[in-house]
């Protein structure tokens, strides 16, 4: 057993974790980064499409290019890290001290630390969360699995593909299948509007004449050893399939692109407070959870649409860790609560102090045109808002200072109001 003492332990070496580790090291904190896989980088490694880094590096990069830059930067400033290292548990010893128990190929590490930045990402929602019945033959993949098989290992999982869910990952994989010569039979989306960005509907589906079935659900998977078809039906207003509208689409491969959910099992075990809206932790403006000194960033905090935001959150968490280490806690006169209002599905962070400028991330419930985003006295005009597009707004200390209430509502309001 190896015993160590650190000021910050970063869990997860994806974009949020690496950005956090870099920032923590730059701020002079004794830092260690723990990664369960045998490589640094996380999910962007398997993303070969562009659209990464436009905010963070001011350049349009692929996932692989983006993360390699971050990894090279990390090596450049000498951050300690362990690969193949699995965080078994976290123990909260006092307000200040925590113990991170890590299983590694060289034995168990017990790392005593003042702060933890948890950046273990998200997991894909799977078949059982979609209420799809029927057989369980070969040929069913999540979008992320299909992406790994195709774009890291160069294997095409099938020839006739049906994608379930129209989130951006599903759309991007539909394009990848089409580019590699597979026949994408359909993308099935239960909601009446697409889950992904309009630009991806255009460049991933329309470019390749891939049909998108909005307001439809897969009711059954048909097949013996291998997938043979899916049964699809229109849904009514309550999302229930309408039996009389059922039809079959023959296919040999099903790709589940049903979205992501924060991967926080380890944190649930130690009793952090969770927001039922985001399925992630409740946090303050430094992304500190309900356990003092335990910070969270990236998709473990909230499902982001851009890698740039995940990296940005990692940096904020590192700044939080620095403040915690210096002051034995986060000193604040008062916390004001952010309250999601009209057409706001969630808003992050949940508590702000007004002592520093804060980036607010929010998502709407339904698409709307010509609206204002209203946060206390701040009103921002938007041409359109869509659930697929995260809203990111900087709230200055001035806005918070002007608000006398302890609750700050975040709302989307139509122009005519």
């Amino acid at each position: 057993m190896i015993e160590e003492k650190k000021e910050v332990v970063v869990i997860g070496a994806g974009p949020a974790g690496i950005a956090a580790a870099i920032r923590a090291r730059q701020l002079g904190l004794e830092t260690i980064l723990i990664e369960s896989r045998d490589v640094l980088g996380g999910i962007p490694l398997q993303c070969i499409h562009p659209g990464f880094g436009i905010h963070y590096f001011g350049e349009d990069l692929t996932g692989g290019e983006f993360i390699q830059r971050l990894i090279d930067k990390m090596h450049g400033i000498g951050v300690n890290y362990i690969l193949n290292a699995y965080v078994h548990s976290i123990e909260i010893d006092s307000y200040i001290e925590k113990m991170v128990n890590v299983v590694t190929p060289n034995g168990v590490h017990k790392i005593c630390t003042k702060t933890i930045i948890y950046a273990a990402g998200a997991r894909e929602r799977h078949l059982f969360e979609l209420n799809i019945f029927g057989e369980r033959p070969d040929g069913i993949y999540t979008a992320g699995e299909a992406q790994t098989i195709m774009d890291l290992y160069g294997v095409l999982p099938g020839e006739n593909i049906v994608v379930i869910g129209s989130g951006d990952v599903g759309l991007i994989m539909a394009r990848r299948f089409a580019l590699e010569g597979a026949n994408v039979r359909a993308v099935i989306e239960i909601m009446p509007y697409p889950g992904g960005l309009m630009r991806n509907i255009v460049q991933c589906l329309r470019d390749f004449n891939i049909p998108l079935y909005l307001g439809h659900a897969v009711t059954e998977i048909i097949g013996g050893r291998r997938v043979e078809a899916v049964r699809v039906a229109k849904v009514d207003e309550d999302m229930r399939p309408i039996k009389s509208t059922e039809f079959e689409i023959p296919c040999d491969t099903i790709v589940i692109a049903a979205g992501l959910t924060p991967n926080i099992d380890l944190l649930e075990k130690i009793g952090i407070a969770i927001d039922y809206r985001t399925k992630g932790p409740i946090v303050n403006e430094l992304f500190e959870t309900s356990i003092p000194g335990l910070f969270v960033a990236g998709n473990a905090l909230v499902i982001n649409d851009l890698v740039d935001y995940a990296a940005e959150q990692g940096e904020v968490a590192a700044e939080g860790a620095k403040i915690f280490v210096e002051n034995d806690g986060i000193p604040t006169k008062s916390w004001k609560r952010i309250e999601p209002g009209r057409n706001v599905r969630f808003a992050i962070p949940h508590y702000i102090s007004g002592e520093r400028d804060v980036m607010l991330y929010a998502r709407v419930q339904k698409p709307e045109n010509d609206v204002y985003i209203s946060i206390a006295n701040l009103k921002i005009k938007m041409h359109n808002v869509r659930p697929a597009e995260m809203i990111r707004v900087k709230i200055s200390t001035k806005i918070i200072a002007e608000s006398r209430n302890t609750v700050i509502p975040v709302e989307v309001i139509p122009h005519e109001f």
Binding site: P50, T62, D151, G154, L179, M198, R199, V202, H383
Partner: protein
């Protein structure tokens, strides 16, 4: 005079403007774009639609069996099929560095590696 009207959705940024383009013999008018980049996109899309294309190419002696690549500039949409049929035939030798040109001047673009591939260490 012959005129052709087309509705497009801009793919330049996440806003996704709905754009109406009217093309006559000597003029293209663009309505509905919120910025100049959208106007430029609409013109390009009507005259010569182009896309960045990404795929993977087989690697010899690499720590991974394939390397990801992208076209250095957007290529004409009608060339996409041709490029992918060609990339299916290419094989490159490890090591490969990000930014390395794997193939040059295909439909006016180079194929650029977007992943670092190291030489496979064979275990004796």
């Amino acid at each position: 005079m012959n005129s052709e009207e087309k509705e497009l959705i801009c793919i330049i940024c996440p806003v996704g403007c709905s754009i109406k383009v009217n093309k006559t013999m000597d003029n293209i008018s663009v309505k509905g774009a919120l910025c100049n980049r959208g106007i430029e996109y609409a013109r390009q899309e009507i005259l010569d639609p182009r896309r960045i294309v990404m795929t993977v190419i087989r690697v010899k002696n690499g720590n991974l069996p394939v390397v990801s690549v992208k076209t250095s500039i957007p290529i004409p949409k009608k060339c996409i099929d041709k490029v992918l049929k060609l990339t299916a035939l290419i094989e490159v030798e490890a090591p490969i560095e990000i930014g390395q040109a794997i193939a040059k001047d295909i439909c006016g673009a180079d194929l650029i590696a977007t992943r670092r591939i190291e030489v496979k260490i064979s275990k004796l």
